[in-house]
């Protein structure tokens, strides 16, 4: 590494990034020096980790803004004759930027959050946390299959330990196991995909894979394996089952990291293989990814509407957002295979910016649920409510994230969904008659998803922060401490900044599309305007919109204040003539989701317990299940069980029988030799 530094000045960005990743690991081990001193770990190590995140973001940002030439280095690590290769190109830079920006907010929040101490000692958490961060950075930086898989598995394992940090709870252990299982199934698919990609030359550097021009069958095999592997990590339906279990089980900063950052590494891997390592893309790949993406998006949104646990709700919302991102990737593949590079660049930009946005607003919301969880010890939406009064900071900052994820302008969620819908508008140029008829339906599904996502967010915010306290203990809920506030505010700022200045994000994405597709969308328009194809087609100005909103709101405020009575009056709302009211009478999470549950009833496996009219202590209970379990996973589990039962017949428990097995094996082998 040192020799490279002296010989070429141009590649020092990559070295710095690698050193930063190493520094994360070092920070983690420093946490082990005094594993029980929460002050040392929370007030020193986690903020240092956040500074390193900022460093990564800064370096990646500078790289994207200035030089785009890929930088490569061979590390003196790994096996003999199989060293680790690392590479920094624009795709890497973009995802490192994402990692750094969101990671900084999460780390600074974690400094406040882990202070209270969770099941695992804080020093161990610090180690696992920073190894997780570093492994994600290394996944993105890796330039050969071996290094990639090592980093990928490190990421899976460290996050598994983080998920199970409260391992005394059986449910959490179960969720952790499911996560580990799915992670390994996915990793196996990725490994096989790399095995196909090397094309019989047994060279595992990405450079060699770029050169291996695979025949169509093997290229498709590699692509499908990659889709399975990265889909399992990203949580595409039907490989999403671990996600709603593992995300709620983890401590909130970890949920934020997994949802915001780790899912993005899966997106990165998918892009790396489909747009960089494979030399060709076929149109039906795009259709497949588009279909899976749209279905995941709709599925996630629908399931999110009926959740009653706030973290599960966000986990389903992650499935929805990943679906949206993969929809963009699918469109990009489709456009690229149809030789429409400009529109491919538009769709890919939308996918990239949505990844960036998702990492920011989803982290923000998960962290906000963490603050709520700490303040109230409640995860169930049915026992929250009215927290805007006791937790104004968290409520305000979470509102920004809620609006962003709901796709409202002038925040960042709007930008990427707008770009994606824009790219749907150009699909009639694809030279396939059938697809031209079908894809508009996809656009409709996407629009439905966006609307449902907004519905979900109204539910999320309304039930937690608005209305009356559903439990008397909520009055004592305390607001987040200053470190947590900084973390939340940083992410909220990110939502606003990208929403108001989407041109910056589009430029960053443009460097990626330029490298992968040889084409960028229109970046030459005036700085504050976003007009990806041509200004006369469609354009958007976040700042102008923000100014408009601010102006309208302030004028209204002033007008009301001056012209009307101008005094604030608190009074009891009209109670419809009831003699008394309790907080139990407000709309509940179940009630709010009921219409959607009704409309999309066939999606769910529902189990309802309706109380009888004569019941003195009536209880209403509903249990909603994923149908995928019954359709896909339980048959597999039963098959494995049956196979295991057959194998179990061998195990009679009698020693002579066991001896006979080895004796017969010996005889059989000897006969074979004979």
């Amino acid at each position: 590494m040192m020799t490279g530094m002296t010989s070429a000045v141009a590649i020092h960005d990559l070295h710095f990034l690698l050193w930063l990743a190493a520094a994360w690991i070092a920070l983690g081990f420093m946490g082990m020096l005094r594993p029980h001193t929460t002050r040392f770990i929370a007030h020193l190590l986690f903020p240092l980790g956040a500074i390193l995140c900022l460093g990564v973001a800064l370096l990646a940002g500078i790289f994207l803004a200035t030089g785009h030439a890929p930088q490569m280095v061979i590390l003196p690590l790994g096996l003999p004759n199989l060293p680790f290769h690392a590479r920094l190109d624009t795709l890497t830079g973009f995802f490192l930027l994402l990692l750094g920006l969101a990671g900084a907010g999460i780390s600074i929040f974690a400094a406040g959050y882990f202070r209270h101490g969770q099941g695992t000692p804080p020093g161990l958490l610090c180690l696992q946390y920073h190894v997780f961060l570093a492994s994600m950075a290394l996944v993105i930086l890796a330039d050969d299959a071996y290094f990639f898989m090592v980093a990928w598995e490190t990421m899976a394992l460290s996050s598994y330990f983080l998920v199970t940090s409260q391992h005394r709870i059986a449910e959490i252990r179960r969720a952790g196991f499911l996560y580990l299982l799915m992670a390994h199934v996915g990793a196996l698919c990725i490994l096989l995909s790399f095995g196909v990609l090397q094309g019989g030359r047994w060279q595992f550097t990405f450079d060699a894979m770029r050169g291996a021009s695979l025949p169509p069958f093997w290229a498709s095999a590699a692509f499908l394996l990659a889709l399975l592997g990265f889909g399992a990590k990203a949580g595409l339906v039907p490989l999403h089952v671990w996600l709603p279990e593992a995300h709620p089980a983890a401590p909130s900063p970890v949920s934020a990291m997994m949802s915001g950052l780790m899912l993005s590494t899966a997106v990165y891997g998918m892009l790396r293989i489909s747009f960089d390592l494979l030399h060709i893309r076929y149109w039906w790949w795009g259709v497949l990814v588009l279909g899976v993406g749209l279905f995941s998006a709709l599925f996630g949104a629908i399931f999110a509407t009926v959740q009653t646990d706030m973290k599960r709700l966000l986990a389903y919302s992650s499935i929805e957002n990943i679906g949206v991102i993969f929809t963009g990737i699918g469109l990009a593949i489709l456009f690229d295979a149809s030789h429409l590079p400009l529109f491919a660049a538009l769709a890919l930009s939308a996918a990239l910016i949505h990844s960036l946005n998702h990492s920011i607003f989803k982290s923000l919301l998960f962290l906000a649920t963490g603050s709520v969880l700490h303040a109230t010890n409640q995860r169930s939406l049915g026992k929250l409510g009215g927290l805007i009064r006791s937790m104004p900071w968290v409520a305000t900052l979470a509102l920004v994230g809620t609006l962003a994820i709901a796709g409202l302008p002038p925040l960042n969620g709007f930008v990427s969904e707008w770009l994606l819908l824009q790219s749907f508008l150009y699909t009639p140029q694809i030279p396939h008659a059938f697809l031209n008829m079908l894809i508009p339906l996809g656009a409709a599904v996407l629009a439905l998803t966006a609307a449902l996502a907004a519905y979900v967010m109204v539910k999320f915010y309304g039930v937690i922060f608005l209305g009356q306290h559903r439990e008397p203990s909520l009055v004592n809920a305390h607001d987040a401490d200053w470190l947590e506030r900084i973390g939340l505010a940083w992410l909220a700022l990110g939502c606003i900044a990208i929403g108001v200045m989407p041109q910056l994000a589009l430029r960053a994405a443009g460097t990626v599309t330029g490298a992968l597709l040889g084409q960028t969308v229109n970046l030459g328009s005036p700085f504050w305007w976003l007009a990806p194809i041509a200004p006369k087609q469609a354009s958007y100005n976040g700042l102008l919109l923000l100014a408009g909103i601010v102006a309208v709101v302030s004028i209204t405020f002033v007008v009301v204040r001056v012209l009307a009575h101008g005094r604030m009056r608190r009074t009891v709302p009209w109670d419809c003539g009831y003699p008394w009211q309790t907080s139990r009478m407000q709309d509940t999470a179940e009630g709010f989701g009921q219409p959607i549950r009704h409309i999309f009833g066939s999606f769910f496996g529902m189990e309802r317990e309706l109380p009888s009219p004569t019941d003195v202590a009536p209880r209403y209970r509903i249990h909603i299940e994923d149908r995928i379990w019954g359709v896909l996973y339980l048959p597999i589990a039963r098959g494995v069980q049956r196979l295991a039962d057959w194998v179990g017949l061998l195990q009679s428990g009698r020693l002579p029988i066991y001896l006979l097995y080895s004796f017969l094996t010996l005889i059989a082998l000897l006969v074979f030799v004979l």
Binding site: Q651, S652, G653, R654, L655, P656, L659, L660, F663, L666, I667, L670, V673, L674
Partner: protein
């Protein structure tokens, strides 16, 4: 008579008696008798190793023979005796499967072993090459004995007898293994034996008997 011819004949005689002892072990019911037979087997092994050492002039084989005498003729039978006295199982008898059937299976195994040994014998250059078949047969018979027995002590004797067969096979095929390996095996045998001795007491404590059929209860359903 030519001395090497004489040596070969005596070796064949010793090998034949090894096989005979193996069959005898297969048919004995009493633990006490088995230990005696095991000691005899060791003694025959010692004699044959000594003879091979004399005829080949390899000094290492003298050490091997001495080790055999010490370990398999004196130490192990003595420890086993003490063990079964302590456990009070010296006159335990076992209900064997069916001695004639076992004998017939054993005969089949001997034929198989000879068939198996033929190509090896052709390649070997030792004077003992004709006895490789017997060595393999001894291994198989010991294994068969382990399968048909139910008591923990007899299992161990079967295991030790199998090691005897392996040792004999090594001596007859290649004039024994390198000394280091042989020492290692001897040590393994001794330590393994001690561990099994401890297990005896544990098993008895747990099940009030050394009958291994009790272990079926350990299986999870």
């Amino acid at each position: 008579m030519h001395p090497s011819y004489m040596v070969t004949e005596v070796l064949n005689l010793l090998a034949a008696s090894l096989l005979l002892i193996s069959f005898a072990m297969l048919s004995r019911r009493r633990t006490q008798r088995l230990i005696t037979l095991f000691a005899w087997q060791g003694l025959v092994l010692f004699a044959s190793t000594l003879l091979v050492a004399y005829s080949s002039g390899l000094r290492e084989l003298y050490y091997s023979a001495a080790l055999t005498l010490l370990l398999k003729v004196i130490a192990l039978p003595w420890i086993l005796q003490r063990l079964i006295h302590r456990l009070g199982v010296q006159w335990d008898s076992e209900t064997l499967v069916n001695i004639p059937t076992t004998m017939l299976v054993g005969l089949g195994l001997v034929i198989f072993a000879f068939g198996l040994a033929q190509p090896i014998s052709r390649m070997a250059t030792t004077i003992t090459r004709n006895t490789i078949g017997i060595a393999l047969a001894v291994i198989f018979l010991a294994f068969l004995m382990m399968i048909t027995r139910r008591k923990a002590v007899t299992q161990v004797i079967g295991f030790l007898a199998m090691e005897n067969g392996l040792f004999f096979a090594a001596t007859s095929a290649t004039y024994g293994m390198p000394m280091v390996i042989e020492l290692g095996i001897a040590l393994d045998l001794l330590i393994g034996f001690f561990i099994l001795g401890i297990f005896f007491f544990q098993i008895r404590e747990q099940f009030d008997s050394l009958d291994l059929s009790n272990m079926e209860a350990l299986k999870e359903d």
